[in-house]
């Protein structure tokens, strides 16, 4: 064997060519129902732009909201077929969780849906608490609710800014980011970090919501509805915006359910499913709010749903602040969550518990399984956990809303116009950190 053959890595390093070929083969062999949907038999008109073209959009494209790659087959300007290529941000979170204790994995959930990290923290902690049957004090639950709703506003604000920017209205992006900055300041004050909050813990919270934090939240919920009203005044009757999104990316209720859409994408199609109502967690069964739905199922309907969800979130936060009880923020069971610092510093048992909780953590019973889902801003975010009796999960499965929602994107794009593609990606509101896990 000559030295040149030895140095020829083309066979071993041929992942990308093989991957690309597979994608194109899939695109070719994909059976899209476009002919039936958009060219009924009696329609003999021939598109003058009768050229088929295969176009790659992404993975790095400002309109794709992350690293998503759409391979589309264009007929003129109509998208005939589309294949999504996701996984560019895959970090193996599910496998990673198997080598971490339940507590240790919590910061990793911040990095899933990085637009609403608090919701992910809460989802993970609730799942573990369900698995290990840990009681969480009332105050912690209310604080978690407040912060999750703030995270929802934060996520919807980003969606709104970015989708309007995709549609050409750049200045809205700046206005929504002004309020996102306020929200980040609140998160900074309450949790200690702007983005990677890591505030929720198994069995409660790490720090209490202080006076200043409550003041900031109250100030925010005073100012925010005014700003939303102004935005609605500008956008709801705006011909430029409505023309751009009306009738784009239509999903009927049946299609939305079949494709497994969640969150606002489902409610925009007329299916009134919201986990906050149907499987209430935290204290959602004690607060009063409406779940806005629309029946049209297009991008405009989703826009209305999300705008109203932001206003509903404010209503929920008001009720939470009114009913926020005094008391503990962390489970008192030292075998399940960290003991108080006084106990750790000044008593032997506290010190032992501190070491035990860190080293082995909570140990749910062997063979226990739990699935807990919350209504994250994007939709149903669920964690399936399987325990083998040790402090580490035996298996973790993450049901992330962005991944489910992206399943509907292909079917939305097929038959749409090329120019509407960015609007359709924006209206699905994917976060690739979560979809690729």
């Amino acid at each position: 064997m000559s030295i040149i053959e030895q140095l020829d890595f083309s066979k071993t390093l041929s992942y990308w060519p093989r991957h690309n070929e597979a994608i194109y083969r899939r695109l070719e062999s994909k059976h899209a129902w476009l002919e039936e949907r958009h060219h009924p038999d009696d329609d003999e008109a021939v598109d003058p732009l009768d050229n088929e073209m295969i176009l790659n959009i992404g993975p790095q494209h400002p309109a794709t909201h992350g690293v998503i790659r759409c391979v589309v087959k264009l007929d003129g300007e109509t998208i005939k077929k589309c294949v999504l290529d996701i996984g560019y941000l895959h970090r193996g979170l599910e496998k990673l969780a198997e080598s971490k204790t339940y507590q240790e994995f919590m910061p990793y959930t911040d990095r899933m849906d990085y637009l609403s990290p608090y919701s992910n923290n809460v989802a993970w902690c609730l799942a573990v608490e369900k698995l290990a049957a840990i009681e969480v004090p009332e105050r912690a639950q209310w604080i978690r609710m407040i912060m999750s709703e703030l995270a929802r506003i934060s996520s919807h604000l980003l969606w709104m800014g970015v989708s309007l920017m995709d549609a050409g209205a750049v200045s809205v992006f700046l206005w929504t980011f002004q309020f996102r900055e306020d929200l980040y300041n609140i998160f900074d004050e309450v949790t200690g970090a702007r983005l990677t909050v890591s505030h929720s813990r198994i069995g409660g919270l790490v720090t209490d919501l202080g006076e200043k934090g409550i003041e900031m939240i109250e100030d925010f919920i005073e100012r925010f509805p005014v700003a939303v009203g102004e935005w609605e005044k500008l956008l709801n009757r705006n011909r430029i915006w409505i023309d751009r999104v009306d009738g784009v990316g239509v999903l009927t209720a049946e299609e939305a359910v079949e494709l497994g859409m969640t969150g606002a994408n489902l409610r925009g199609s007329g299916v009134g499913h919201d986990i906050r109502r149907f499987e209430p967690y935290l204290k959602y069964d004690e607060v009063d709010f409406t779940i806005p739905i629309r029946t049209e199922g297009d991008a405009l309907a989703r826009y209305f749903v999300r705008m109203e969800e932001m206003k509903e979130a404010i209503i929920i936060i008001r009720q939470c602040l009114d009913r926020l009880p005094e008391g503990e923020i962390r489970s008192d069971d030292a075998k399940r969550s960290y003991p108080g610092k006084d106990e750790v510093y000044y008593s032997m048992e506290g010190l032992i518990h501190d070491f035990m909780v860190t080293d082995t953590g909570v140990c749910p019973p062997n063979g226990a399984e739990a699935y807990h889902a919350i209504e994250a801003p994007k939709g149903e975010l669920g964690f399936f956990l399987q325990s083998d009796g040790t402090g580490r999960p035996c298996r973790v499965r993450i049901n992330s809303p962005s991944f489910s929602n992206l399943q509907g994107l292909e079917s939305m794009l097929e038959g749409g116009m090329m120019g509407d593609m960015v609007v359709m990606i924006a209206t699905v509101d994917p976060v690739l950190g979560e979809a690729d896990k």
Partner: protein
Amino acid sequence: MPGKPVNTATKNERKLNFWERLYLPEVLKGLGWSIRKIWKEPSYTFQYPEEQWYPSDNYRGRPVLVQEEGKTRCVSCNLCARACPPMAISMESREIDGPKEREPVWFEIDMLRCIYCGFCEEVCPEEAIVMSKEYDLTFQDREEAIFGLDRLLVPKERLADRLAFLRKQQNPQFGSTWEYPRENNRHSLRDLTTDAESIQTEQ
């Protein structure tokens, strides 16, 4: 009462009237809106490197070791290294004479790995590692990013804010009426008498 799904669509939500269908007024409306923002809105940004941002006490900056009377508080129990999710902390321990009995020979935090989650601070049984307010770290190379004791030790006085915050906020004691006398926090059984005396003189 839990939430209720309601179709909150208003009448003619999607139908624009004649005046709204005219294209130009909408363009002008948007422009007018933006210009109004220029006039009315106060500036929302600050010039970062010149104007520095001072974080609140809750802020989790880079983790540092508390230096008390020229020595570290750390007893090198390795608990922070165990709790650290990205495994950024490592240390080597040795036994010493004195009430603390142990100290780290070397203590390293790989700041390229650190995710600023604050678990080390939360679990530390000696309040020896805390999160400071420093947030703008830059490195020239990877070796420089591994902080040893020389860069980690920070005098207690400079961390007074954070230590006071921890006393007040973090892991507060719940639901127990037991008082925690400071004498219980003995580090060594070797010289109980001197230790107790030193606490009494402190008080």
